[in-house]
């Protein structure tokens, strides 16, 4: 039996993730943490009806509840899907909080609470964290900090548990409502969910949503600053 803890569960990717976990024959307990758990009741019933796994819903606000959250016993696998993009009605403090400081504090507490049972931590960052760009550098810097945190965590605990850094590019979610993106760079929520489980099973350290993004990241890093600074639209 495996126990999952998923943060940012009210998302298309989490829906597919829960369904993928349930469709395997393994018996699992999945804790879903989200601000509005009412909308996840259908998913919970689906898991109970169609599989041997069970889903537990817990109301959780990443901005408020990190310090007081009571961790369930025996968490094996933690998956962080929470994130917020910079936008007109999102403050920079919230962007930094949700994408970096709060999850870091959460993971620090998780490691203490689940010292014995923890097998893997899956951290979602972003291609925006590979190099700061004019478009979204507050968001990008928080994600960059998260990439650095995951890297350090992996080095410190590589004998204890797996740390996977996930660096996605375009995902076919709400983030593409306003943006147009070439199809070959876009991953569906369903494929991301499968990728997450595959990466954990194969014990991968750093995962990109598509191979093309690994290439783009490599190029981004190597463009000389003198050129890069002029590349903004």
């Amino acid at each position: 039996m495996k126990t999952y803890l998923i943060l940012g569960a009210a998302s298309p990717i989490a829906s597919h993730l829960v369904k993928s976990i349930c469709s395997s024959n393994e018996r699992s307990v999945i804790y879903l943490l989200a601000r509005n758990i009412g909308r996840l009741e259908g998913l919970q019933q689906h898991a109970n009806t169609t599989s041997h796994s069970s889903v537990v819903l817990q109301e959780f606000d990443l901005n408020k509840d990190v310090a007081v959250y009571q961790f369930p016993a025996n968490i094996n696998c933690f998956i962080n899907l929470a994130g917020v993009m910079s936008g007109s009605n999102v403050s920079s403090a919230e962007v930094m909080g949700v994408n970096y400081t709060q999850p870091v504090l959460f993971i620090e507490r998780l490691m203490e609470a689940s010292k014995e049972s923890l097998q893997s931590i899956f951290i979602t960052t972003s291609i925006a964290g590979v190099r700061g760009r004019a478009l979204n550098y507050v968001y990008g810097s928080a994600k960059a900090a998260m990439i650095a945190y995951a890297s350090g965590l992996r080095q410190k605990h590589h004998k204890d548990f797996l740390v996977t850094t996930f660096i996605p590019g375009y995902m076919d979610t709400e983030m593409l409502n306003e943006t147009k993106a070439p199809g070959f760079l876009v991953s569906s929520p369903e494929s991301i969910a499968k990728l997450i489980l595959r990466s954990i099973a194969k014990r991968r350290n750093v995962v990109y949503s598509k191979t093309a993004w690994r290439l783009i990241a490599a190029i981004l890093v190597h463009v000389p600053e003198i050129i890069f600074k002029k590349m903004s639209k």
């Binding site: 009210a10 009412g38 909308r39 259908g42 009806t49 169609t50």
Partner: protein, 426 residues
């Protein structure tokens, strides 16, 4: 909520329109989408044929596919759940769909909107006879629970209303108990239409009956057909280690649109000759439900064989007293135009559901035909239309794209290109 501008088309690949599509993962988002727009239409898995699912603003129910409960032979699931997903869950537990069309890749919401029927209509009626209740979100964004005792007018009106009464978000359906997932099938080769009709009439007690018709044969052999009869096999009748085996995921697919001339009178004639030639009359063979009900599902994207121009279906039902004459005339029309239809299917309907005013099935014989889209075939369709009108028959909206027979439904916020076309007809 995910919102995309995309090309929307049904299984017939014609017509194609641009549509702003909402893709909710949560039921609450459905109300939001309804309130935000002055016009909207729910879509399912896009297996209907004509323009009934097309609208400039649409809402895909495909991610609302949670199965909420299954107990005592009653399933409660969200509207975007496909029959494929339901079968995978229910068959191992000894249940089967009370009514199923020729594909399992449709959603339950779509099944209600079309009031689908199956090979057992003469015995079990359409799906409206087996749906116990559903939840629908109306034009104001409010959830309305509908059943035989609660909001019953809206309940019955919704069957066959093609989604124009609101967006169904979940439904409760009574399932059928089965001992095995196999069908005891009898295949009978018939030489003409008269024989086919006789056999339908004499097999009204058989649960499943349907006939494939060679619609390009003429003269004496007009209406030569292969009849398929079936019953759910009992446990004692089969010799399989897994008696409640679920269907497999199809592996074959058509990778791209074939040229539009692929299906012409000659190729269809050849196909029909081979199909009829290879069919063998046999009694009581045991087959799995998958090839019996869903032979075409074994090839994904089979609609691509009709080419980029797409195809359309034309299904009509004629009252029993004029059925024979009418269907014989219809076959003559198809022959005249060489409008080869290789999926021609004949079936005897039982009584329709009198409570459901928008439901299609009515007592009599129904013939379903498919035509690649070209001028000749459209002429054939308009001639068939005149014939059906003469015989006081009905045309199935779920498959229709060109008929002038169906009537529009009074509707406010929920609108489809098809309904607007019918409004123009009147």
């Amino acid at each position: 909520m995910i919102i995309r501008d995309k090309n929307l088309t049904s299984w017939g690949n014609n017509p194609v329109i641009r549509s702003k599509e909402y893709q909710p993962y949560f039921v609450e988002d459905v109300s939001k989408a309804i309130i935000e727009n002055s016009e909207i239409l729910a879509t399912g898995n896009g297996r209907s044929y004509g323009d009934c699912m097309l609208n400039a603003v649409s809402l895909s129910t495909l991610h609302l596919n949670n199965i909420l409960s299954l107990s005592n032979g009653v399933v409660n699931c969200q509207a975007g759940t496909t029959l494929d997903e339901l079968l995978r869950l229910m068959v191992p537990k000894g249940y089967f769909l009370p009514v199923t069309p020729g594909t399992k890749f449709i959603t339950l919401g779509g099944a209600i909107a079309s009031d689908i029927h199956g090979k057992n209509h003469h015995k079990d009626g359409s799906i409206s006879n087996h749906i116990l209740s559903f939840e629908l979100i109306n034009h104001a964004g409010d959830t309305v629970s509908c059943s035989r005792t609660n909001n019953e007018d809206l309940f019955w009106q919704t069957f066959g209303a093609m989604g124009l009464t609101g967006i169904i978000v979940s439904a409760v359906m009574q399932l059928k108990d089965v001992e095995t997932s196999y069908i005891r099938q009898t295949v009978i080769k018939l030489k003409g239409l008269a024989e086919t009709f006789e056999l339908f009439a004499s097999h009204q007690d058989t649960t499943y009956s349907v006939a494939w018709i060679d619609c390009l044969s003429s003269g004496k052999s007009q209406g030569k057909s292969v009849m398929f009869l079936g019953e759910h096999a009992k446990l004692a009748e089969i010799n399989k280690c897994l008696h409640l085996a679920v269907h497999k995921t199809p592996k074959l697919f058509v990778p791209f649109n074939l040229p539009s001339f692929t299906l012409n009178a000659l190729t269809v004639k050849t196909f029909n000759a081979i199909y009829y030639g290879m069919a063998k009359s046999e009694a009581d063979s045991i087959v799995h439900y998958d090839p019996f009900f869903y032979p075409l599902d074994s090839i994904l994207n089979w609609n691509r064989i009709y080419g980029k121009k797409g195809f359309t279906q034309y299904q009509f039902v004629l009252p029993p007293e004029v059925s024979f004459e009418g269907i014989s005339k219809a076959l003559t029309i198809i022959n005249k135009y060489g409008a080869g239809s290789f999926l021609a299917v004949l079936k005897l309907f039982g009584e329709g559901n009198a409570k459901a005013p928008n439901s299609f099935p009515e007592k009599g014989y129904t013939l379903a035909l498919d035509f690649p889209i070209n001028t000749k075939n459209l002429q054939a369709i308009s001639e068939l239309d005149a014939l059906v009108k003469d015989c006081s028959g009905k045309v199935y909206k779920t498959k229709d794209c060109f008929s002038s027979i169906p009537e529009a439904i009074q509707s406010g916020k929920f609108q489809s290109q098809q309904n607007l076309r019918y409004t123009g007809n009147n």
